[in-house]
């Protein structure tokens, strides 16, 4: 058996049913072996699309995503997708072809040191030197990608190793991640802090989803009635309409969420990492609060904020040990008042489309909708205004903020569950980053719905230039955009345009009723801003508010 065949058998043994990739010279033996495998290969039209689709597949399915590319430019094109998975702790195995080992290090055709290039953005990486190592390395790669705090693993496979004959049987022992219990002394201290607290807040992040601890989190939150705020990746950890949910915290968070955190005397951080977009100026974040930090990653506890109790291990064990019989009624009432006081308003003046309201109504019209997001103003509107029952309904590039994530992630989500109803919300800037993936949608007849919010500008950058650079606008006007309806149709995708508020109801019905792929091109006022906003460098006490047209 050849090394490439051994690799494909190893993927099969890991239960891989779909891989996203793009062929090329050095990876050709693997593509040859894939022909004889039940594994389905999805051809992206750019390797970045393949990597981001693998990421979206992993987020939607809870399984490890796999992407494949050739050496050189194929490998470097994966880099943004690998970094995206790294920043959001998504289990992805990226397999790259490499030039044959005799010419490694000679600047051979399509040779790059992808092993070295990706070192800062992978959880681990392997260069396979011998075909007989392939089963063990693939097993380790999948184990490492999924265990503890998940992340991407790179496997670089030189072409001569892929072509080498070996007699090693494709059988190996698969490892399973071990659930680790937090230290009992720290658990006891956390329980003591919770019982003492008068103003506790649950600050939930994406770690809860990655640890499959959503049920445990909900059980604790609902039983304790501690108010909940979420990071961008933690949205949906409790249903967004739940009475104790105050919204997203941070730079574009809800005022109620930020006020509660700032006033709290105990912050129970569950699978979050005190990211700067969530905390604002760190030394002014929840200034009077003690901290309980629950996480699977030992290096996160105390990294940015001292933890009075650090619960390292499986979040489910930590959560089930915490006390629920609390006497915090005055605090609950205070938070409920803030929640009421800072409800989003949808009575924006004018006749133009008010995107926050359109997004809210979309998720009200289909409560099971999965939304994959691009990056920019529309991403924040989705986080603020869409309603989610489960966190897997909201796939967003949080840590890296990758423009171009939305459509590939939508493809990945549909490959994870072909019966899911998936909508990508994108912008006129973001869609151009991976526009070629419209052809992937067409090629596989994927019923992806696309809501393209077009403000003829790079809206978030334009907003910052307006607010923080004295309106010195530079390279943000995109009035030379193509006609996106014509573009979509040229890819064979149904498309229509929405320009007025009175067209919104019909547009929502059409988007949701269409069986195949469809794109709604929604044109809005270029001067629309995202509110509220904590200015960079400020604490979350300082939230600018404005009125969007």
């Amino acid at each position: 058996m050849k090394g490439a065949q051994l690799l494909v058998r190893a993927l099969e043994q890991e239960g891989v049913d779909v891989v996203f990739g793009y062929p090329g010279g050095a990876i050709m033996p693997v593509y040859d072996a894939l022909l004889d495998s039940p594994i389905r290969h999805i051809l992206a039209r750019h390797e970045q699309g393949a990597a981001l689709s693998a990421d979206g597949y992993a987020r939607a399915s809870g399984r490890t995503g796999v992407c494949i590319a050739t050496s050189g430019p194929g490998a470097t094109n994966l880099v943004t997708g690998i970094a995206n998975a790294y920043m959001d702790s998504i289990p992805v195995v990226a397999i790259t072809g490499q030039v044959p080992t005799p010419v490694l290090g000679t600047d051979a055709f399509q040779e790059v040191d992808i092993f070295g290039i990706t070192m800062p953005i992978v959880k681990h990486s392997f260069m396979i030197r011998r075909a007989e190592d392939i089963p063990r390395i693939i097993s380790e790669a999948f184990y490492i990608a999924a265990e503890g705090r998940p992340g991407p693993v790179l496997v670089d496979l030189p072409k001569d190793v892929a072509n080498a004959e070996t007699t090693v049987p494709p059988i190996f022992e698969m490892k399973s991640p071990v659930r680790r219990r937090p230290d009992p002394d720290q658990v006891e201290e956390a329980c003591r802090l919770i019982r003492q607290a008068e103003r506790p807040v649950l600050y939930v992040g994406g770690g809860v989803i990655m640890a499959r601890a959503v049920d445990a989190f909900r059980k604790y939150a609902f039983a304790s009635r501690i108010p909940v705020v979420a990071t961008l990746k933690g949205i949906g950890a409790v249903p967004t309409r739940h009475a104790d949910y105050l919204g997203m915290l941070g730079m574009h968070g809800n005022l109620a969420a930020n006020k509660a955190v700032q006033a709290s005397d105990l912050l129970i951080c569950v699978g979050a990492r005190f990211d700067d977009r969530a905390t604002g100026r760190l030394d002014g974040f929840a200034p009077t609060a003690k901290v309980i930090h629950m996480d699977a990653d030992p290096s996160e506890i105390g990294k940015l904020r001292h933890a009075d109790a650090g619960l390292l291990g499986d979040l489910r064990y930590a959560l089930e040990s915490m006390p629920t019989d609390l006497s915090i009624e005055p605090w609950q009432a205070w938070c409920a008042e803030r929640r009421e006081e800072h409800q989003w308003r949808y009575d924006a003046p004018g006749e133009g489309v008010y995107v926050p309201d359109m997004l809210r109504r979309l998720t009200e019209a289909d409560k099971n909708l999965t939304i994959t997001c691009d990056v920019g103003q529309h991403q924040m509107w989705v986080a603020q205004h869409c309603h989610f029952q489960h966190p897997q309904q909201h796939l967003t590039s949080a840590g890296l903020g990758t423009m171009g994530f939305g459509i590939p992630a939508g493809i990945g989500a549909l490959m994870a569950d072909p019966t899911a109803r998936v909508l990508t919300v994108t912008g006129d800037g973001s869609i151009m980053m991976n526009l070629q993936e419209l052809q992937t949608i067409r090629r596989y007849d994927l019923p992806l719905k696309i809501l393209l919010v077009d403000n003829a500008s790079l809206g978030m950058v334009r907003q910052w230039q307006e607010l923080f650079h004295e309106e010195r606008y530079h390279e943000v006007h995109l009035s030379d955009n193509p006609d996106f309806v014509v573009v979509a149709r040229s890819f064979g995708i149904e498309a229509f345009r929405v320009t007025r508020r009175d067209q919104v109801d019909g547009a929502i019905r059409r988007l949701l009723a269409t069986e195949g792929a469809i794109l709604a091109h929604v044109c809005i006022d270029p001067k629309t801003n995202v509110w509220p906003l904590v200015p960079p460098g400020q604490t979350n006490d300082v939230m600018l508010e404005g009125i969007s047209a």
Binding site: G116, P120, H124, M127, I144, D297, G302
Partner: protein, 91 residues
């Protein structure tokens, strides 16, 4: 502030550069380094002196510990190892 890290790493491709790269990326300057290979155990012992203006060396040690090629990490008290290391290198 100076700290000394003692690392035991597997002698596999990329292990050394992975550990050193992480130290610099996390905001620490490497001021000295000593490496000794243990061929029988397929391991390498590293003694690395690092300096950082404000980052936590304890967090750094935990970040290094997470690397899959790293077998052991010891973070030494601040001042005394810096001298000891210089003396050992002088020998």
């Amino acid at each position: 502030m100076n700290h000394t890290l003692k690392l035991t790493i597997q002698r596999v491709e990329g292990a050394l550069i992975r550990a050193l790269g992480l130290i610099e990326r996390r905001g620490f300057a490497v001021t000295s380094i000593n490496a000794e290979a243990d061929a029988a155990a397929q391991q390498m012992e590293l003694t690395i002196e690092v300096r950082s203006a404000g980052r936590s060396a304890d967090v750094l040690a935990r970040q290094i510990e997470k690397l899959f090629d790293v077998r052991a990490v010891t973070l030494m008290p601040a001042e005394e190892p810096a001298v000891a290391l210089e003396e050992s290198m002088a020998c």
